[in-house]
Amino acid sequence: MSTHDTHSHELEPHGDGTLPDRFENPGHPEHHQRLGDLDPKANKKAERQVLALFTVSVVGTIAFAVAYFALGDPTTDPTKIASATRTENLWLGLTLAFALLGIGTGAVHWAKTLMNDHEMSEERHAIASDAESREAALQALQDGAEDSGISRRGALKGAVIGALALFPITIALPLIGNIGGDWNVGKLKHTMWKKGTRLARDPSGRAIKASDVTIGSVFHVIPENLEEAEHPLDEKAKAVVLLIRLDPRDIKSEQGEGWSYDGIVAYSKICTHVGCPVALYEQQTHHLLCPCHQSTFDVADSAKVVFGPAKRALPQLPITIDDEGYLIAQSDFHEPVGPSFWERKK
């Protein structure tokens, strides 16, 4: 029983009667032959399997081409575009997968069943270079430095370092000069709301009459003249507002005296956390929830934060109505909207 033999052998004491401190590595285990190594039939069968797998790939490629031409252009019938696209995607994808998996599984199967599976051993050598090479490398570096005379010519060293350090300015200067646009970060503090700007529905741009706003309803609001802005999207990213009509008795507080109109309040829609649109309104609790990070604001109480990662209340837009009954802004917001930044209070 070989097991027992190695077993007792290893526990054999040294000449002086003591046992070794550690076990010895027993060496490579015996190689087990595969069925295909012993049985020519099994070997032949494996070969046929590999052949079949590569054939699957060829068939897959052909099927891909057939599907491409047979399915036709999915956009010909606009009413069926969704299902036609789905069908095309499925067929092209499946045939592509077969074309690829056939090659892959064929090659792996070949390697596993037919190629020599005797484990081989290769020696490792220390990664570090030998002492002699290190010495020679050091010498080469020293010789190089010596030849250049860099240690003797201090002024040259300084000049080279100085020139190399300065030249990137030629690329950096125009890059930095232009990359931030006009670099006027003061624009972050203002929006296009001004005294008299009408509140309009997003995205139609139709102005809103106070009488259109029923209690409990919510309007997504943009300035009426948004499209006249030079960059409407940039302006919209700051100016969007949520308009909500509450029962005036429910309003606990507002950010300014007379900033609402008959229970209609307007708050910035841009979250004071990292700027997502605060889009979810819960009528019962008067809470606004930001779907990105769940900051929750109480519209009845100055839009103060009641939960979540935001710190500041949503800025309130002071509103009133004009002669025709349309809701208009009294002024811009009284503080910067959106996420905090270093100089926002400056």
Partner: protein, 576 residues
């Protein structure tokens, strides 16, 4: 050049080509060195390969996409076949993505293949990194390659984020909006950095073309270069191998590149690509035509980033807002963003990147290691790794707290509070539990080596005593369980020499020793030959051999003794 007596025309041509190449490149030496180079075999070594092959898949599908994608924020009105978007104002980026999906035949497949491949790429990187971590493959001489791999992880995240933002849809646009909010939170330079990225105010006109350059040029070039370096190191160091009979620090046991690995690895590329193609065929991903073009006003609930960014999202969600404050002088410090988006990930990633160097310092080990550790044999490392994984996992779950709330009908506030507690308790608890499990598994190994396998054979002695016969392990089975070294805490020289003069550098040594004790105080030593011999003599061999003809090792019942070598270097029992 051929050696056969009657060369076939094909062999002649191959020989002539080889000769032509060698005379001009000297490639013969390279082929001689590498063609039959040995690589060890293990399924876990495939994880890195999956990362490589999914990256190649990304390159192939990505080149296809660049042929049709228009990286521009220029406004256009959609007139294509997708009816629900007809007449909608959108950027050319979004409209060309719609064109890719509906009008370019096979374009949708390529988009889905590209996106799935990116998710697989990141998953493969993370699991490969876990394999390397838990088996200690990062030890000397591979520390630098760990750092290269770590950098690839970061670049992969950037590649993914810059990629899924390109279609300029409302979902990714909100992702960019969040990125903008995080950037603005940087003290002092936040708003300028935001202008730097967006070319002015958010969202501006510049971002998509800029992201495009980053996504198709800068990051892929860096990733390719670092993959080259990563693989160069692998060849230079030769691959690590799992412990086992015949495998030592001085050899590498496995199969040659030609033909086995050429076939297996080459084939595996097609398998990876094929599986990704299958995913692209059957699983819809990022159906941007349902989201619509980016607009700063709408947002959808339940929006999630790609999985590898979830931890950041979760981190942001967990932080209570109270942390934001205004300094003396009126400057705003958004600690409610800086801490979760920069400091927490900063700490986690720094620990990950620096771990090989920390472990080397506290182990005081300067030897090369090519035989991998079994995770159980390094309880501290394994427990530490698990606790980092758990921290990321909790943050990722927190990034899905809204989905958890809607799926399980729970209060979002309660879930958030639960995660706020869990992010502190979870990593700690998983550390303790993992360490206990590792030590327990090591004891089980000792038990097996000392007393062998249970056979279920009960033997009755003449005296009426029953014992169960145990079958001893064979040398190969045993070697796996005794081959490792149990690392002991560092021993340092005393603070004062014999004349009572305080030694310089003692404080630093003491600190290293303390950390070393944290790492290696609790340990289970592998069985030594002497212990095995001693355990043999517990069994009443003589009495047994009369009854049992097979060479067996007895144990069990009253003869099963506790392992007696679990004593620390100072003669203390480990703290259990």
């Amino acid at each position: 050049m051929t050696t056969t007596s009657t060369p076939t025309p094909a062999a002649k041509a191959a020989g002539a080509t080889a000769d032509y190449l060698d005379q001009r490149t000297g490639i013969g030496v390279v082929v001689k060195t590498f063609a039959r180079k040995i690589f060890p075999d293990h399924w876990s070594f495939l994880l890195g390969e999956i990362a490589l092959y999914s990256f190649v898949t990304i390159l192939i599908s990505g080149v296809f996409l660049t042929m049709f994608f228009v990286p521009s924020m220029g406004e256009t009105t959609y007139t294509g076949p997708w009816s629900s978007m007809q007449g909608v104002e959108m950027s050319q980026a979004f409209s060309s993505t719609l064109r890719l999906s509906f009008e370019v035949r096979g374009g949708l497949l390529m988009r889905q293949v590209h996106h799935w491949a990116a998710l697989i790429f990141m998953a493969a990187i993370v699991t490969h990194m876990m394999r390397v971590f838990f088996t200690g493959a990062f030890r000397k001489p591979r520390e630098l390659n760990w750092v290269v791999g770590f950098t690839l992880l970061i670049l992969g995240m950037l590649a993914g984020f810059s990629g899924y933002s390109l279609p300029d849809d409302v979902l990714s646009g909100n992702g960019l909006r969040i990125a903008d909010g995080v950037i603005k939170a940087v003290p002092l330079i936040g708003s300028y950095t935001s202008y730097f990225v967006f070319g002015g105010e958010f969202p501006g006109q510049e971002l998509i073309p800029r992201l495009f350059t980053v996504h198709v040029l800068l990051i892929p070039a860096l990733i390719l270069a670092l993959i080259g370096l990563h693989l160069l190191f692998v060849v230079l160091h030769k691959h690590t191998q799992y412990p086992g009979s015949g495998r030592t620090e001085k050899n590498v046991v496995g199969y040659p590149v030609l033909p086995v690995y050429a076939a297996k690895a080459g084939g595996f590329f097609f398998v990876v690509f094929g599986v990704i193609a299958l995913m692209g065929a059957t699983m819809s991903i990022n159906a941007v035509w349902n989201y619509g073009p980016y607009d700063p006003s709408p947002v959808s609930a339940g929006a999630q980033p790609d999985w590898y960014m979830l931890f950041l999202e979760g981190s942001l969600r967990l932080m209570p807002g109270q942390a934001e404050f205004v300094t003396w002088g009126g400057y705003t410090v958004s600690a409610n963003i800086i801490i979760p988006a920069m400091i927490v990930p900063g700490i986690l990633f720094t620990m990950l990147a620096a771990y090989p160097f920390i472990e080397a310092a506290v182990t005081g080990d300067r030897r090369e290691h090519h035989v991998l550790d079994r995770p159980r044999n390094r309880p501290f490392r394994t427990a530490f790794g698990v606790s980092i994984v758990v921290a990321f996992f909790i943050l990722a779950l927190a990034g899905s707290n809204d989905l958890i709330a809607t799926h399980f009908h729970l209060s979002i506030n309660d879930i958030t509070w639960a995660f706020r507690v869990l992010i502190f308790v979870g990593p700690w608890l998983s550390f303790v539990i993992t360490k206990r499990i590792c030590l327990g598994l090591q004891r089980k190994d000792r038990e097996l080596v000392l007393h062998g396998h249970e056979t279920g054979r009960i033997v009755r002695f003449a005296s009426g005593e029953y014992i169960e016969v145990h079958k001893p392990l064979d040398a190969h089975e045993r070697w796996l369980r005794v081959q490792h070294e149990a690392i002991r805490p560092l021993e340092i020289e005393p603070a004062e020499d014999s004349r009572g003069v305080r030694r310089k550098g003692y404080a630093l040594d003491r600190m290293r020793q303390r950390v070393s004790q944290v790492f290696y105080e609790d340990r289970v030593e592998p069985v030594t030959p002497a212990e095995l011999a001693a355990s043999h003599s517990h069994g009443e061999h003589d009495a047994l051999e009369a009854d049992v003809h097979e060479p067996t090792q007895v144990g069990g019942g009253s003869h099963l003794v506790e392992p007696d070598a679990e004593t620390g270097a100072e003669g203390r029992n480990p703290q259990i």
